[in-house]
């Protein structure tokens, strides 16, 4: 049964998707200028997945994320300033500049961390779900991962345990067609990753990951199922990343995909598709433009904030390895 999405929710989804897009575009721009150190894996093109799924969650629900994690963090309510400051490597960043793009976390918002190891977030999500079940909190955990992660052992181990123990977890596979430069057809024989759910006796479905309503609908049902104690679901969201694997991946991955393919997928961009829905609902173009301006201001402020903040020093480097507080007396 379809859950009715009113235009207020659509507008909030729109704002979040634009926020992710503009956040990533800014990083793209500043990375090219050499202002951002390290690695950056951008989420442009995949925004409907994070926003559609996180719109179905409670504030105290958990997510585990991936190396391509900015979108998940924004969608779960992450603070743009602290995110940006972290990516710039500043003391005011989420991780005091010690984690960077691939390790942003906010435990208070249920964001259990982006993760630099493909597939590693899956068992961690299973453990968070186990914890919620033991504490009887009715919290749900979502684990985001890519198509590449579904060939890791942790995918199998995690889904098997979650199913066996009927845990409140939703597995969201963002199938963007490539594990780095390896196209799906070169890394697994199947087309629909959701069929793997069968072997864990859990529901599995594939949705258009660039259609916010399809993603949201699937997430609402899976989250409801998880929260009511009926166990996990595997949702495959078929989508596409516009940028290369990382900033610096030459010509957006020209070694392994064609420009034509990228252009075809750009026509399926999730943001204009939501704009069309909003216009049908009677929302005026000016209102959407206003949202875009507001979000752009937020992003600009986040960058200004980051540039104003200090870079951690030698004094900071030894801190935070261990928690030295005594639990015992």
């Amino acid at each position: 049964m379809a859950t009715k999405v009113d235009s207020a929710l659509h507008l909030e989804m729109y704002r979040q998707m634009v926020r992710i897009r503009k956040f990533e575009e800014k990083i793209c721009e500043d990375y090219a200028k050499g202002l951002i150190p390290g690695l950056a894996h951008l989420y442009i093109g995949e925004e409907a997945v994070a926003v559609g799924v996180c719109s179905a969650l409670r504030p105290d629900d958990y997510i585990t994320s991936t190396h391509r994690g900015h979108g998940h963090c924004v969608a779960k309510g992450g603070d743009i300033k602290q995110m940006m400051a972290e990516i710039y490597g500043r003391t005011t960043g989420y991780c005091k500049g010690k984690g960077g793009s691939m390790h942003i976390a906010d435990l208070n918002l249920g964001i259990l961390g982006a993760n630099g190891i493909v597939g590693a977030g899956i068992p961690i999500a299973v453990g968070a779900a186990l914890s919620a079940k033991m504490r009887k909190t009715e919290q749900v955990t979502v684990s985001f991962f890519g198509d590449g992660a579904t060939n890791q052992g942790t995918f199998h181990e995690g889904l098997n345990m979650a199913s066996l123990w009927e845990l409140p977890v939703v597995f969201v596979c963002e199938n963007n067609m490539y594990g780095l430069g390896t196209r799906q057809s070169r890394h697994q024989k199947i087309d629909d990753i959701s069929i793997r759910a069968t072997s864990y006796d859990m529901p599995g479905l594939s949705v258009d990951g660039n259609d916010i309503d399809e993603v949201y609908q699937a997430a609402v049902e899976a989250v409801e199922r998880a929260r009511s104690g009926k166990g996990p679901t595997l949702i495959e969201c078929k989508t596409y990343r516009w940028r290369g694997h990382h900033e610096g991946d030459a010509n957006q991955g020209a070694k392994y995909r064609s420009k034509e393919e990228i252009e075809e997928w750009k026509k399926l961009c999730p943001i204009p598709r939501l704009e069309q829905k909003l216009q049908k609902e009677g929302i005026k173009a000016e209102e959407l433009e206003q949202i875009q301006r507001e979000v752009q201001n937020e992003i600009d402020e986040a960058v200004d904030f980051s540039l104003d903040c200090t870079i951690p020093t030698l004094e900071d480097v030894l801190e935070d390895v261990y928690d030295e507080r005594e639990e015992t007396i």
Partner: protein, 342 residues
Amino acid sequence: MTKTVTRTINSHTELDALETVEMSYGEALRDALRSQMKKDETIFVIGEEVGLYGGIFGVTQGLYEEFGPERMIDTPISEAGFIGAAVGAAITEMRPVAEIMFTDFAIMAMDQIVNQAAKIRYMFGGKVEVPLVIRIPTGTGRGAAAQHSQSLEAWFAHVPGLKVVMPSTPFDAKGLLISSIWDNNPVIFIEHKMLYKATGPVPKDEYCIPIGKADVKRQGEDVTIIATLMMLHTALKAADELAAEGINAEVIDPRTIYPLDKETIIESVKKTNRAVVVHESSKTGGVGGEISSVIMEGAFDYLDGPVLRCAGLDVPIPFTPDLEKIVVPDEKQIIDAVKSLL
């Protein structure tokens, strides 16, 4: 419900003044688990055969009946999976105690231990605690061959973010396990599988032994022997034989490899001027090299000879009992090493 353990005991020398009971190393571990699980519902045990079966070495015997399958969680054979799940539970308000059946199987879970558990706190800027204990039976003595007999403490000690605890007596086992459970960091708790049946005096009530404090198991003036787990007992036997010849060895059990109680070791060597480090794990890249360096950095001017290592041979652990015995140090090797320094 209090989360505090008020009594701290630093050394076995305090035992005479306390009410103790004789129990085995395995029973002491079980006693620690049971007492803390009764006290705090966030503590649970997870691993292969820890529940219904009672643990492959019987450590968790009876706890399944007492605490039920919800808190004594039997897992599929999925080391990366259940250690990952333990990490996830640890960062979401629980205090899991995971058991990996053999050290060798921890290798299956190394990503979750090394890349996740150890680093999460630092990567997240200190904004999360990871109160996770991973109990790992280790070592030779059961004819279990190369994939069931390794000692890999040096691997874990090499990873910032982990603590590495290695109790050698029932008294140490109970107090250190309680401390490890209440530590807010991931603790690799290494138990020797040939010690489970070894008995000794253990205080009846609950107590902590500070992580990072060595115990001088035997006092002496002529040489310092540093050893853990089974090798501590081999070293004590060697020390008895040396004493019969008028050589008084001081035997130190670091009890935790990381953090290492450098001070106790250095102070002892300053007194004895000689040191022998003993461990079962293979010599190259072993903890003995680290301890030897600590001594040289802290007591070089006091040394009358090189710091010697008695360690496992650099071979995979062989199966047949005669060979298995040869690959780990015995009393004679320790005695010979000590005498070569005099």
